[in-house]
Protein backbone atom coordinates (compact mmCIF):
# COMPACT_ATOMS: atom_id res chain seq x y z
CA UNK A 1 0.00 0.00 0.00
CA UNK A 2 1.44 3.31 -0.95
CA UNK A 3 0.94 6.40 1.13
CA UNK A 4 -0.70 9.37 -0.56
CA UNK A 5 0.71 12.01 1.71
CA UNK A 6 4.35 12.93 1.81
CA UNK A 7 5.95 12.96 5.23
CA UNK A 8 6.39 16.69 5.77
CA UNK A 9 9.89 16.36 7.15
CA UNK A 10 11.11 14.78 3.96
CA UNK A 11 9.57 17.16 1.45
CA UNK A 12 12.27 19.33 -0.18
CA UNK A 13 12.18 23.01 0.83
CA UNK A 14 10.48 25.04 -1.90
CA UNK A 15 12.59 27.70 -3.67
CA UNK A 16 10.83 30.75 -5.03
CA UNK A 17 11.08 30.76 -8.81
CA UNK A 18 13.00 33.85 -9.90
CA UNK A 19 10.88 34.52 -12.95
CA UNK A 20 12.09 35.47 -16.42
CA UNK A 21 13.03 39.11 -15.81
CA UNK A 22 14.64 38.24 -12.52
CA UNK A 23 16.80 35.76 -14.41
CA UNK A 24 17.68 38.36 -17.04
CA UNK A 25 18.73 40.85 -14.37
CA UNK A 26 20.76 38.20 -12.58
CA UNK A 27 22.67 37.27 -15.71
CA UNK A 28 23.22 40.91 -16.59
CA UNK A 29 24.61 41.63 -13.15
CA UNK A 30 27.27 38.97 -13.65
CA UNK A 31 28.28 40.21 -17.09
CA UNK A 32 31.12 42.57 -16.13
CA UNK A 33 31.88 43.71 -19.66
CA UNK A 34 28.31 44.77 -20.34
CA UNK A 35 28.11 46.58 -17.02
CA UNK A 36 31.33 48.47 -17.67
CA UNK A 37 30.14 49.52 -21.11
CA UNK A 38 26.77 50.58 -19.76
CA UNK A 39 28.60 52.61 -17.13
CA UNK A 40 30.69 54.34 -19.77
CA UNK A 41 27.57 55.17 -21.74
CA UNK A 42 25.87 56.63 -18.66
CA UNK A 43 28.93 58.76 -17.97
CA UNK A 44 28.90 60.06 -21.53
CA UNK A 45 25.19 60.74 -21.32
CA UNK A 46 25.72 62.71 -18.14
CA UNK A 47 28.52 64.70 -19.74
CA UNK A 48 26.36 65.49 -22.73
CA UNK A 49 23.33 66.49 -20.71
CA UNK A 50 25.33 68.67 -18.36
CA UNK A 51 27.50 70.10 -21.13
CA UNK A 52 26.95 73.74 -20.27
CA UNK A 53 28.06 73.04 -16.70
CA UNK A 54 31.12 70.97 -17.56
CA UNK A 55 32.54 72.45 -20.73
CA UNK A 56 35.36 74.94 -20.07
CA UNK A 57 34.71 77.18 -23.07
CA UNK A 58 32.10 78.03 -25.67
CA UNK A 59 31.93 75.64 -28.62
CA UNK A 60 31.69 78.48 -31.10
CA UNK A 61 34.33 80.87 -29.93
CA UNK A 62 36.99 80.90 -32.61
CA UNK A 63 40.39 82.53 -32.70
CA UNK A 64 42.81 82.27 -35.58
CA UNK A 65 45.69 82.87 -33.21
CA UNK A 66 44.86 79.80 -31.24
CA UNK A 67 44.28 77.40 -34.12
CA UNK A 68 45.55 73.82 -33.91
CA UNK A 69 47.19 74.05 -30.55
CA UNK A 70 48.37 70.61 -29.34
CA UNK A 71 46.91 68.46 -26.57
CA UNK A 72 47.93 69.66 -23.16
CA UNK A 73 48.06 73.33 -24.17
CA UNK A 74 47.35 75.45 -21.06
CA UNK A 75 43.64 76.16 -20.79
CA UNK A 76 42.79 73.83 -23.67
CA UNK A 77 43.37 70.28 -22.39
CA UNK A 78 42.62 68.59 -25.69
CA UNK A 79 43.96 71.29 -27.94
CA UNK A 80 42.10 73.46 -30.41
CA UNK A 81 40.64 72.80 -33.83
CA UNK A 82 41.34 74.40 -37.18
CA UNK A 83 39.41 77.53 -36.23
CA UNK A 84 40.88 77.87 -32.77
CA UNK A 85 37.90 76.46 -30.88
CA UNK A 86 38.46 74.33 -27.77
CA UNK A 87 38.40 70.64 -28.68
CA UNK A 88 37.19 69.38 -25.31
CA UNK A 89 34.17 71.69 -25.41
CA UNK A 90 33.43 70.85 -29.04
CA UNK A 91 33.65 67.15 -28.29
CA UNK A 92 31.27 67.36 -25.35
CA UNK A 93 28.77 69.48 -27.25
CA UNK A 94 29.35 67.41 -30.34
CA UNK A 95 28.21 64.40 -28.41
CA UNK A 96 24.79 65.97 -28.11
CA UNK A 97 24.19 66.06 -31.82
CA UNK A 98 25.90 62.76 -32.50
CA UNK A 99 23.85 60.92 -29.90
CA UNK A 100 20.71 62.66 -31.04
CA UNK A 101 21.38 61.67 -34.64
CA UNK A 102 22.13 58.13 -33.57
CA UNK A 103 19.17 57.47 -31.30
CA UNK A 104 16.31 59.40 -32.89
CA UNK A 105 16.15 57.54 -36.23
CA UNK A 106 16.33 54.21 -34.42
CA UNK A 107 13.62 55.21 -31.97
CA UNK A 108 11.27 56.33 -34.73
CA UNK A 109 12.07 53.28 -36.83
CA UNK A 110 11.45 51.04 -33.80
CA UNK A 111 7.95 52.41 -33.37
CA UNK A 112 6.96 52.65 -37.03
CA UNK A 113 8.83 49.59 -38.24
CA UNK A 114 7.89 47.55 -35.22
CA UNK A 115 4.21 48.32 -35.68
CA UNK A 116 4.25 47.56 -39.38
CA UNK A 117 6.24 44.39 -38.88
CA UNK A 118 4.03 43.04 -36.12
CA UNK A 119 0.92 43.82 -38.14
CA UNK A 120 2.40 42.08 -41.16
CA UNK A 121 3.42 39.09 -39.07
CA UNK A 122 0.14 38.75 -37.27
CA UNK A 123 -2.18 39.49 -40.15
CA UNK A 124 -0.62 37.31 -42.78
CA UNK A 125 -2.21 37.09 -46.18
CA UNK A 126 -2.24 39.97 -48.61
CA UNK A 127 -1.41 42.60 -45.99
CA UNK A 128 1.74 40.69 -45.14
CA UNK A 129 2.64 40.40 -48.82
CA UNK A 130 2.11 44.09 -49.43
CA UNK A 131 4.24 45.25 -46.54
CA UNK A 132 6.99 42.72 -47.11
CA UNK A 133 7.31 43.30 -50.86
CA UNK A 134 7.67 47.05 -50.38
CA UNK A 135 10.24 46.30 -47.69
CA UNK A 136 12.07 44.06 -50.15
CA UNK A 137 12.48 46.95 -52.58
CA UNK A 138 14.17 49.10 -49.97
CA UNK A 139 16.17 46.12 -48.85
CA UNK A 140 17.55 45.90 -52.36
CA UNK A 141 19.77 48.90 -51.57
CA UNK A 142 22.86 48.65 -49.38
CA UNK A 143 22.16 50.85 -46.36
CA UNK A 144 25.02 53.29 -46.83
CA UNK A 145 24.05 53.83 -50.44
CA UNK A 146 20.42 54.41 -49.56
CA UNK A 147 21.27 56.84 -46.77
CA UNK A 148 23.65 58.80 -48.99
CA UNK A 149 21.25 58.78 -51.90
CA UNK A 150 18.26 60.03 -49.91
CA UNK A 151 20.37 62.58 -48.06
CA UNK A 152 21.99 63.65 -51.26
CA UNK A 153 18.62 64.14 -52.88
CA UNK A 154 17.10 66.01 -49.97
CA UNK A 155 20.15 68.10 -49.22
CA UNK A 156 22.26 68.63 -46.12
CA UNK A 157 20.77 69.29 -42.73
CA UNK A 158 19.94 67.53 -39.51
CA UNK A 159 16.29 66.91 -40.30
CA UNK A 160 17.08 65.40 -43.69
CA UNK A 161 19.76 63.21 -42.16
CA UNK A 162 17.35 61.88 -39.56
CA UNK A 163 14.71 61.33 -42.22
CA UNK A 164 17.03 59.40 -44.50
CA UNK A 165 18.38 57.25 -41.68
CA UNK A 166 14.89 56.49 -40.43
CA UNK A 167 13.94 55.38 -43.93
CA UNK A 168 16.99 53.12 -44.00
CA UNK A 169 16.20 51.48 -40.67
CA UNK A 170 12.46 51.03 -40.96
CA UNK A 171 12.73 48.16 -43.49
CA UNK A 172 15.30 46.40 -41.33
CA UNK A 173 13.12 46.56 -38.25
CA UNK A 174 10.05 45.52 -40.23
CA UNK A 175 11.87 42.40 -41.35
CA UNK A 176 12.91 41.42 -37.84
CA UNK A 177 9.53 42.27 -36.34
CA UNK A 178 7.65 40.30 -38.96
CA UNK A 179 9.89 37.28 -38.62
CA UNK A 180 9.62 37.24 -34.84
CA UNK A 181 5.87 37.76 -34.86
CA UNK A 182 5.30 35.04 -37.43
CA UNK A 183 7.44 32.72 -35.35
CA UNK A 184 5.50 33.43 -32.17
CA UNK A 185 2.13 33.36 -33.88
CA UNK A 186 2.55 29.78 -34.99
CA UNK A 187 3.81 28.52 -31.64
CA UNK A 188 1.73 26.10 -29.67
CA UNK A 189 0.93 28.38 -26.78
CA UNK A 190 -0.79 30.83 -29.06
CA UNK A 191 -2.83 27.95 -30.49
CA UNK A 192 -3.64 26.92 -26.96
CA UNK A 193 -4.78 30.43 -26.08
CA UNK A 194 -6.95 30.55 -29.15
CA UNK A 195 -8.38 27.14 -28.30
CA UNK A 196 -9.30 28.33 -24.83
CA UNK A 197 -11.34 31.13 -26.36
CA UNK A 198 -9.08 34.17 -26.08
CA UNK A 199 -9.82 36.94 -28.57
CA UNK A 200 -7.22 38.25 -31.02
CA UNK A 201 -6.56 41.43 -29.06
CA UNK A 202 -6.05 39.51 -25.83
CA UNK A 203 -3.69 37.10 -27.52
CA UNK A 204 -1.64 39.96 -28.89
CA UNK A 205 -1.55 41.77 -25.57
CA UNK A 206 -0.81 38.81 -23.32
CA UNK A 207 1.12 36.32 -25.42
CA UNK A 208 2.48 37.90 -28.56
CA UNK A 209 3.55 41.42 -27.54
CA UNK A 210 5.74 40.52 -24.54
CA UNK A 211 7.54 37.81 -26.45
CA UNK A 212 7.99 39.94 -29.52
CA UNK A 213 8.96 43.32 -28.06
CA UNK A 214 12.06 41.92 -26.42
CA UNK A 215 13.87 40.65 -29.53
CA UNK A 216 12.80 43.68 -31.59
CA UNK A 217 14.08 46.00 -28.88
CA UNK A 218 17.41 44.20 -28.65
CA UNK A 219 17.76 44.36 -32.43
CA UNK A 220 16.98 48.08 -32.37
CA UNK A 221 19.66 48.72 -29.75
CA UNK A 222 22.17 47.00 -32.01
CA UNK A 223 21.24 49.53 -34.70
CA UNK A 224 22.14 52.56 -32.57
CA UNK A 225 25.85 52.20 -33.19
CA UNK A 226 25.21 51.80 -36.91
CA UNK A 227 23.02 54.90 -36.87
CA UNK A 228 25.68 56.89 -35.12
CA UNK A 229 28.35 55.82 -37.56
CA UNK A 230 26.12 56.46 -40.56
CA UNK A 231 24.94 59.84 -39.27
CA UNK A 232 28.47 60.93 -38.57
CA UNK A 233 29.43 59.51 -41.93
CA UNK A 234 26.83 61.67 -43.62
CA UNK A 235 28.17 64.71 -41.79
CA UNK A 236 31.66 63.61 -42.79
CA UNK A 237 30.53 63.78 -46.41
CA UNK A 238 28.95 67.14 -45.85
CA UNK A 239 25.41 65.82 -45.99
CA UNK A 240 24.37 65.98 -42.38
CA UNK A 241 25.14 68.57 -39.82
CA UNK A 242 26.14 71.94 -41.18
CA UNK A 243 29.00 73.99 -39.77
CA UNK A 244 29.55 75.61 -37.29
CA UNK A 245 27.48 73.11 -35.26
CA UNK A 246 29.72 70.75 -33.31
CA UNK A 247 29.17 67.13 -34.26
CA UNK A 248 31.71 64.36 -34.26
CA UNK A 249 31.36 63.38 -37.92
CA UNK A 250 31.48 66.96 -39.14
CA UNK A 251 34.49 67.60 -36.96
CA UNK A 252 36.27 64.68 -38.60
CA UNK A 253 35.59 66.27 -41.95
CA UNK A 254 36.83 69.75 -41.08
CA UNK A 255 39.87 68.39 -39.28
CA UNK A 256 40.97 66.20 -42.18
CA UNK A 257 43.56 68.65 -43.39
CA UNK A 258 44.93 68.90 -39.85
CA UNK A 259 46.10 65.30 -40.13
CA UNK A 260 49.51 66.43 -41.23
CA UNK A 261 50.06 69.03 -38.52
CA UNK A 262 48.10 67.76 -35.53
CA UNK A 263 47.20 64.13 -36.21
CA UNK A 264 46.20 63.35 -32.63
CA UNK A 265 43.62 66.10 -32.58
CA UNK A 266 42.29 65.18 -36.00
CA UNK A 267 41.35 61.70 -34.88
CA UNK A 268 39.77 62.60 -31.53
CA UNK A 269 36.16 62.93 -32.75
CA UNK A 270 36.33 59.52 -34.40
CA UNK A 271 37.64 58.03 -31.20
CA UNK A 272 34.52 59.29 -29.45
CA UNK A 273 32.33 57.68 -32.08
CA UNK A 274 34.27 54.43 -31.78
CA UNK A 275 34.00 54.25 -28.00
CA UNK A 276 30.30 55.07 -28.00
CA UNK A 277 29.63 52.61 -30.78
CA UNK A 278 31.51 49.75 -29.16
CA UNK A 279 29.79 50.33 -25.83
CA UNK A 280 26.34 50.31 -27.41
CA UNK A 281 27.20 47.11 -29.26
CA UNK A 282 28.49 45.41 -26.13
CA UNK A 283 25.42 46.40 -24.15
CA UNK A 284 23.16 45.21 -26.94
CA UNK A 285 25.02 41.90 -27.11
CA UNK A 286 24.90 41.52 -23.36
CA UNK A 287 21.16 42.17 -23.36
CA UNK A 288 20.61 39.57 -26.03
CA UNK A 289 22.66 36.96 -24.19
CA UNK A 290 20.89 37.70 -20.91
CA UNK A 291 17.48 37.42 -22.54
CA UNK A 292 18.26 34.17 -24.33
CA UNK A 293 16.72 31.54 -22.06
CA UNK A 294 18.37 28.66 -23.83
CA UNK A 295 21.93 29.86 -23.19
Amino acid sequence: MTADVLPAALAPAPRAAPGYWGGVWRRLRRDKVTLVCAGILLLMLAAIVFAPLIAPHSPYQASMLRRLKPIGFPGYPLGTDELGRDMLTRLIYGGRLSWYLGITPVAIAFVVGGLLGVIAGFAGGWLNMLIMRVTDVFYAFPSVLLAVAISGALGAGIFNAILSLTLVFIPQIIRVAEAVTTGVRTLDYVEAARASGAGALTIVRVHVAPNVLGPIFVYATSLISVAMILASGLSFLGLGTKPPEPEWGLMLNTLRTAIYSQPMIAILPGLCIFVTSICFNMVSDGLRTAMDVRA
Binding site: M1, L6, L10, A11
Partner: protein, 328 residues
Amino acid sequence: MTDKLVEVHDLHVRFVSRDATVRAVNGVDFDLMPRETLCILGESGSGKSVTLRALMRLNPPRRTVMSGTVRVGGHDVLAASPRQLADIRGGVVSMIFQEPATALDPVFTIGQQIRETILRHEPIGRAAADRRAQELLEIVQIPSARRRLDSYPHELSGGLRQRAMIAIALSCRPKLLLADEPTTALDATVQIQILLLLRQLQQDMGMGVIFVTHDLGVAGEVADRIAVMYAGRFVEVGPVASLMRAPLHPYAQGLLGATVHAGARGTRLTTIPGAPPNLEHLPQGCAFAPRCAWVEDACLSAVPALRSPAPGQAARCVRVPDTLQDAA
Protein backbone atom coordinates in the same frame (compact mmCIF):
# COMPACT_ATOMS: atom_id res chain seq x y z
CA MET B 1 35.34 -18.10 -16.49
CA THR B 2 35.02 -16.30 -19.82
CA ASP B 3 36.21 -12.72 -20.11
CA LYS B 4 33.64 -10.10 -19.33
CA LEU B 5 32.80 -7.74 -22.16
CA VAL B 6 32.06 -4.79 -19.92
CA GLU B 7 33.28 -4.14 -16.39
CA VAL B 8 32.09 -1.00 -14.64
CA HIS B 9 33.13 -0.31 -11.08
CA ASP B 10 32.10 2.62 -8.88
CA LEU B 11 31.32 4.96 -11.77
CA HIS B 12 30.63 8.58 -10.82
CA VAL B 13 29.77 11.24 -13.39
CA ARG B 14 29.37 14.90 -12.52
CA PHE B 15 28.58 17.87 -14.76
CA VAL B 16 30.33 20.95 -13.50
CA SER B 17 29.28 24.46 -14.49
CA ARG B 18 29.58 27.91 -12.98
CA ASP B 19 26.09 27.71 -11.52
CA ALA B 20 25.99 24.23 -10.07
CA THR B 21 27.33 20.69 -10.03
CA VAL B 22 24.91 18.04 -11.21
CA ARG B 23 25.64 14.57 -9.87
CA ALA B 24 24.24 12.50 -12.68
CA VAL B 25 25.74 9.09 -11.85
CA ASN B 26 26.53 8.21 -8.24
CA GLY B 27 28.24 4.89 -7.91
CA VAL B 28 27.27 2.37 -10.58
CA ASP B 29 28.70 -1.15 -10.77
CA PHE B 30 27.85 -3.77 -13.31
CA ASP B 31 29.29 -6.38 -15.67
CA LEU B 32 28.19 -7.59 -19.04
CA MET B 33 29.10 -10.89 -20.65
CA PRO B 34 29.40 -11.30 -24.42
CA ARG B 35 26.09 -11.98 -26.22
CA GLU B 36 24.17 -10.72 -23.21
CA THR B 37 21.53 -7.95 -23.27
CA LEU B 38 21.30 -5.61 -20.32
CA CYS B 39 18.47 -3.10 -20.15
CA ILE B 40 18.86 0.03 -18.03
CA LEU B 41 15.42 1.18 -17.06
CA GLY B 42 14.59 4.56 -15.59
CA GLU B 43 12.76 7.87 -15.87
CA SER B 44 14.13 11.02 -17.49
CA GLY B 45 16.92 12.39 -15.38
CA SER B 46 17.75 9.07 -13.74
CA GLY B 47 21.20 9.07 -15.29
CA LYS B 48 20.70 6.18 -17.68
CA SER B 49 21.80 7.98 -20.85
CA VAL B 50 24.76 9.50 -19.03
CA THR B 51 25.84 6.04 -17.88
CA LEU B 52 25.58 4.73 -21.42
CA ARG B 53 27.61 7.56 -22.87
CA ALA B 54 30.20 7.18 -20.16
CA LEU B 55 31.02 3.79 -21.63
CA MET B 56 32.36 5.67 -24.66
CA ARG B 57 33.23 8.91 -22.87
CA LEU B 58 30.72 10.61 -25.12
CA ASN B 59 29.49 13.16 -22.58
CA PRO B 60 30.41 16.84 -23.20
CA PRO B 61 34.17 16.84 -22.64
CA ARG B 62 34.59 20.21 -20.99
CA ARG B 63 31.89 19.91 -18.36
CA THR B 64 32.14 16.23 -17.49
CA VAL B 65 34.10 14.79 -14.57
CA MET B 66 34.24 11.00 -14.33
CA SER B 67 35.75 8.66 -11.78
CA GLY B 68 35.80 4.93 -11.27
CA THR B 69 36.68 2.14 -13.69
CA VAL B 70 35.19 1.40 -17.08
CA ARG B 71 36.59 -1.48 -19.11
CA VAL B 72 35.08 -2.37 -22.47
CA GLY B 73 36.41 -5.30 -24.49
CA GLY B 74 39.58 -5.24 -22.43
CA HIS B 75 40.23 -1.51 -22.99
CA ASP B 76 40.34 0.98 -20.13
CA VAL B 77 37.98 3.68 -21.41
CA LEU B 78 38.63 6.34 -18.78
CA ALA B 79 42.38 6.17 -19.17
CA ALA B 80 42.48 5.96 -22.96
CA SER B 81 44.22 8.67 -24.94
CA PRO B 82 42.08 10.63 -27.44
CA ARG B 83 43.46 8.55 -30.31
CA GLN B 84 42.86 5.27 -28.54
CA LEU B 85 39.37 6.42 -27.63
CA ALA B 86 38.63 7.28 -31.25
CA ASP B 87 39.76 3.78 -32.23
CA ILE B 88 37.53 2.15 -29.62
CA ARG B 89 34.51 4.13 -30.70
CA GLY B 90 32.95 2.55 -33.72
CA GLY B 91 35.44 -0.29 -33.71
CA VAL B 92 34.89 -2.05 -30.40
CA VAL B 93 31.73 -0.32 -29.23
CA SER B 94 29.05 1.52 -31.19
CA MET B 95 26.01 3.53 -30.27
CA ILE B 96 22.62 4.17 -31.81
CA PHE B 97 20.66 7.22 -30.74
CA GLN B 98 17.12 8.12 -29.99
CA GLU B 99 16.27 10.59 -32.72
CA PRO B 100 17.62 9.45 -36.09
CA ALA B 101 16.37 12.57 -37.84
CA THR B 102 18.87 14.74 -36.01
CA ALA B 103 21.52 12.12 -35.33
CA LEU B 104 22.54 11.82 -38.98
CA ASP B 105 24.42 14.51 -40.87
CA PRO B 106 21.87 16.10 -43.22
CA VAL B 107 24.28 17.08 -45.98
CA PHE B 108 25.92 13.69 -46.55
CA THR B 109 24.30 10.61 -48.08
CA ILE B 110 23.69 7.43 -46.08
CA GLY B 111 26.28 5.65 -48.18
CA GLN B 112 28.91 8.29 -47.49
CA GLN B 113 28.26 8.12 -43.76
CA ILE B 114 28.57 4.33 -43.66
CA ARG B 115 31.63 4.39 -45.84
CA GLU B 116 33.52 6.91 -43.75
CA THR B 117 32.94 4.82 -40.63
CA ILE B 118 34.29 1.71 -42.31
CA LEU B 119 37.31 3.43 -43.78
CA ARG B 120 38.10 5.07 -40.46
CA HIS B 121 38.62 1.71 -38.79
CA GLU B 122 39.56 -0.59 -41.67
CA PRO B 123 41.62 0.62 -44.64
CA ILE B 124 39.99 -1.65 -47.19
CA GLY B 125 39.59 0.83 -50.02
CA ARG B 126 36.57 2.70 -51.27
CA ALA B 127 35.11 0.07 -53.55
CA ALA B 128 35.18 -2.62 -50.86
CA ALA B 129 33.68 -0.18 -48.37
CA ASP B 130 30.85 0.60 -50.75
CA ARG B 131 30.13 -3.09 -51.21
CA ARG B 132 30.08 -3.62 -47.47
CA ALA B 133 27.79 -0.59 -47.07
CA GLN B 134 25.29 -2.10 -49.44
CA GLU B 135 25.45 -5.43 -47.62
CA LEU B 136 24.82 -3.66 -44.36
CA LEU B 137 21.74 -1.93 -45.70
CA GLU B 138 20.46 -5.31 -46.79
CA ILE B 139 21.18 -6.84 -43.40
CA VAL B 140 19.09 -4.17 -41.70
CA GLN B 141 16.37 -4.90 -44.25
CA ILE B 142 16.26 -1.60 -46.11
CA PRO B 143 14.64 -2.22 -49.48
CA SER B 144 16.40 -1.08 -52.68
CA ALA B 145 19.68 -0.96 -50.80
CA ARG B 146 21.76 0.03 -53.83
CA ARG B 147 19.63 3.09 -54.49
CA ARG B 148 19.36 4.05 -50.83
CA LEU B 149 23.11 4.44 -50.57
CA ASP B 150 22.73 7.71 -52.45
CA SER B 151 19.81 8.98 -50.37
CA TYR B 152 20.03 11.80 -47.90
CA PRO B 153 18.65 11.27 -44.40
CA HIS B 154 15.67 13.55 -44.94
CA GLU B 155 14.56 11.39 -47.86
CA LEU B 156 13.97 8.37 -45.62
CA SER B 157 11.10 7.62 -43.24
CA GLY B 158 11.72 7.44 -39.50
CA GLY B 159 11.97 3.67 -39.45
CA LEU B 160 14.36 3.52 -42.40
CA ARG B 161 16.50 6.23 -40.85
CA GLN B 162 16.82 4.22 -37.68
CA ARG B 163 17.77 1.14 -39.69
CA ALA B 164 20.39 3.22 -41.49
CA MET B 165 21.78 4.33 -38.16
CA ILE B 166 21.94 0.71 -37.05
CA ALA B 167 23.79 -0.11 -40.25
CA ILE B 168 26.33 2.61 -39.50
CA ALA B 169 26.75 1.35 -35.95
CA LEU B 170 27.33 -2.23 -37.06
CA SER B 171 29.61 -1.42 -39.98
CA CYS B 172 32.80 -2.34 -38.15
CA ARG B 173 31.45 -5.37 -36.31
CA PRO B 174 31.63 -3.98 -32.78
CA LYS B 175 31.59 -6.33 -29.82
CA LEU B 176 29.28 -4.05 -27.85
CA LEU B 177 26.24 -2.14 -29.07
CA LEU B 178 24.83 0.69 -27.01
CA ALA B 179 21.26 1.71 -27.73
CA ASP B 180 19.91 4.95 -26.24
CA GLU B 181 16.12 4.71 -26.45
CA PRO B 182 16.27 3.79 -30.15
CA THR B 183 12.56 3.17 -30.51
CA THR B 184 11.11 6.01 -28.44
CA ALA B 185 10.78 8.37 -31.39
CA LEU B 186 9.18 5.79 -33.67
CA ASP B 187 5.62 4.70 -34.31
CA ALA B 188 4.42 1.70 -32.34
CA THR B 189 4.40 -0.70 -35.27
CA VAL B 190 7.86 0.34 -36.38
CA GLN B 191 9.10 0.01 -32.81
CA ILE B 192 8.45 -3.68 -32.74
CA GLN B 193 10.15 -4.20 -36.10
CA ILE B 194 13.27 -2.44 -34.91
CA LEU B 195 13.35 -4.38 -31.66
CA LEU B 196 13.07 -7.67 -33.48
CA LEU B 197 15.75 -6.58 -35.92
CA LEU B 198 18.09 -5.71 -33.08
CA ARG B 199 17.55 -9.03 -31.39
CA GLN B 200 18.24 -10.87 -34.67
CA LEU B 201 21.38 -8.89 -35.38
CA GLN B 202 22.65 -9.49 -31.90
CA GLN B 203 22.34 -13.22 -32.30
CA ASP B 204 23.86 -13.22 -35.79
CA MET B 205 26.81 -11.04 -34.89
CA GLY B 206 27.34 -12.21 -31.34
CA MET B 207 27.34 -8.77 -29.76
CA GLY B 208 26.65 -7.64 -26.25
CA VAL B 209 23.91 -5.03 -26.06
CA ILE B 210 23.14 -2.42 -23.44
CA PHE B 211 19.74 -0.93 -24.01
CA VAL B 212 18.47 2.22 -22.30
CA THR B 213 14.74 2.82 -22.10
CA HIS B 214 11.95 4.13 -19.92
CA ASP B 215 9.45 1.71 -21.37
CA LEU B 216 8.87 -1.47 -19.37
CA GLY B 217 7.32 -3.21 -22.32
CA VAL B 218 10.43 -2.68 -24.43
CA ALA B 219 12.61 -3.87 -21.58
CA GLY B 220 10.61 -7.00 -21.18
CA GLU B 221 10.92 -7.66 -24.91
CA VAL B 222 14.68 -7.43 -25.40
CA ALA B 223 16.47 -7.86 -22.09
CA ASP B 224 18.21 -10.78 -20.43
CA ARG B 225 18.84 -8.68 -17.35
CA ILE B 226 17.31 -5.42 -16.21
CA ALA B 227 18.91 -2.71 -14.07
CA VAL B 228 16.51 -0.14 -12.64
CA MET B 229 18.11 3.25 -12.23
CA TYR B 230 17.08 6.07 -9.91
CA ALA B 231 18.91 9.30 -9.06
CA GLY B 232 22.12 8.06 -10.60
CA ARG B 233 22.28 4.66 -8.92
CA PHE B 234 21.15 1.14 -9.75
CA VAL B 235 18.43 0.47 -7.24
CA GLU B 236 17.62 -3.00 -8.48
CA VAL B 237 19.28 -5.52 -10.78
CA GLY B 238 18.01 -8.89 -11.81
CA PRO B 239 17.01 -11.33 -14.57
CA VAL B 240 14.11 -10.03 -16.58
CA ALA B 241 11.61 -12.68 -15.64
CA SER B 242 12.03 -12.51 -11.87
CA LEU B 243 12.33 -8.74 -11.79
CA MET B 244 9.17 -8.20 -13.72
CA ARG B 245 7.28 -10.82 -11.82
CA ALA B 246 8.34 -9.80 -8.33
CA PRO B 247 10.37 -6.63 -8.06
CA LEU B 248 12.14 -6.11 -4.76
CA HIS B 249 12.72 -2.36 -4.60
CA PRO B 250 9.75 -0.08 -3.80
CA TYR B 251 10.56 2.09 -6.82
CA ALA B 252 10.56 -0.87 -9.18
CA GLN B 253 7.35 -2.06 -7.61
CA GLY B 254 5.85 1.36 -8.14
CA LEU B 255 6.91 1.33 -11.78
CA LEU B 256 5.28 -1.99 -12.42
CA GLY B 257 2.20 -1.01 -10.51
CA ALA B 258 1.86 2.05 -12.66
CA THR B 259 2.20 0.19 -15.93
CA VAL B 260 -0.87 -0.37 -18.00
CA HIS B 261 -1.27 -3.95 -19.12
CA ALA B 262 -4.15 -6.16 -20.09
CA GLY B 263 -4.29 -8.21 -16.90
CA ALA B 264 -4.91 -5.14 -14.84
CA ARG B 265 -8.36 -4.39 -16.17
CA GLY B 266 -10.70 -3.39 -13.38
CA THR B 267 -7.98 -2.69 -10.83
CA ARG B 268 -6.68 0.71 -9.85
CA LEU B 269 -3.35 1.95 -11.14
CA THR B 270 -0.96 2.85 -8.38
CA THR B 271 1.19 5.94 -8.63
CA ILE B 272 4.37 6.98 -6.95
CA PRO B 273 3.80 10.26 -5.08
CA GLY B 274 6.28 13.11 -5.21
CA ALA B 275 8.98 13.79 -7.79
CA PRO B 276 12.56 12.65 -8.47
CA PRO B 277 15.20 14.43 -6.41
CA ASN B 278 17.20 17.44 -7.53
CA LEU B 279 20.51 16.03 -8.76
CA GLU B 280 22.31 19.14 -7.55
CA HIS B 281 21.32 18.48 -3.94
CA LEU B 282 21.06 14.77 -3.32
CA PRO B 283 19.90 13.62 0.10
CA GLN B 284 22.37 11.85 2.33
CA GLY B 285 20.49 8.60 2.55
CA CYS B 286 18.39 6.65 0.11
CA ALA B 287 17.34 8.94 -2.73
CA PHE B 288 13.91 7.32 -2.95
CA ALA B 289 13.11 7.74 0.76
CA PRO B 290 10.98 10.90 0.39
CA ARG B 291 8.56 9.00 -1.76
CA CYS B 292 8.72 5.58 -0.15
CA ALA B 293 5.81 4.10 1.81
CA TRP B 294 8.06 1.87 3.92
CA VAL B 295 10.72 4.39 4.87
CA GLU B 296 12.60 3.79 8.16
CA ASP B 297 15.28 5.69 10.03
CA ALA B 298 17.99 3.48 8.59
CA CYS B 299 17.05 4.70 5.11
CA LEU B 300 17.82 8.33 5.86
CA SER B 301 21.28 7.99 7.36
CA ALA B 302 23.19 6.33 4.55
CA VAL B 303 22.70 5.09 1.00
CA PRO B 304 21.65 1.47 1.26
CA ALA B 305 24.12 -1.01 -0.19
CA LEU B 306 23.06 -3.55 -2.79
CA ARG B 307 21.58 -6.53 -0.97
CA SER B 308 21.16 -9.87 -2.67
CA PRO B 309 18.36 -12.24 -1.66
CA ALA B 310 19.26 -14.62 -4.48
CA PRO B 311 22.13 -14.99 -6.97
CA GLY B 312 21.85 -12.49 -9.80
CA GLN B 313 19.27 -10.37 -8.00
CA ALA B 314 20.09 -7.31 -5.93
CA ALA B 315 18.34 -4.20 -4.63
CA ARG B 316 19.33 -1.11 -2.68
CA CYS B 317 16.79 -1.40 0.08
CA VAL B 318 17.24 -2.11 3.79
CA ARG B 319 14.10 -4.24 3.77
CA VAL B 320 15.53 -6.69 1.26
CA PRO B 321 17.08 -9.76 2.90
CA ASP B 322 20.73 -10.28 2.14
CA THR B 323 21.10 -14.04 2.11
CA LEU B 324 24.34 -14.18 0.17
CA GLN B 325 25.97 -11.82 2.65
CA ASP B 326 24.89 -13.99 5.54
CA ALA B 327 25.94 -17.18 3.79
CA ALA B 328 29.39 -15.83 2.89
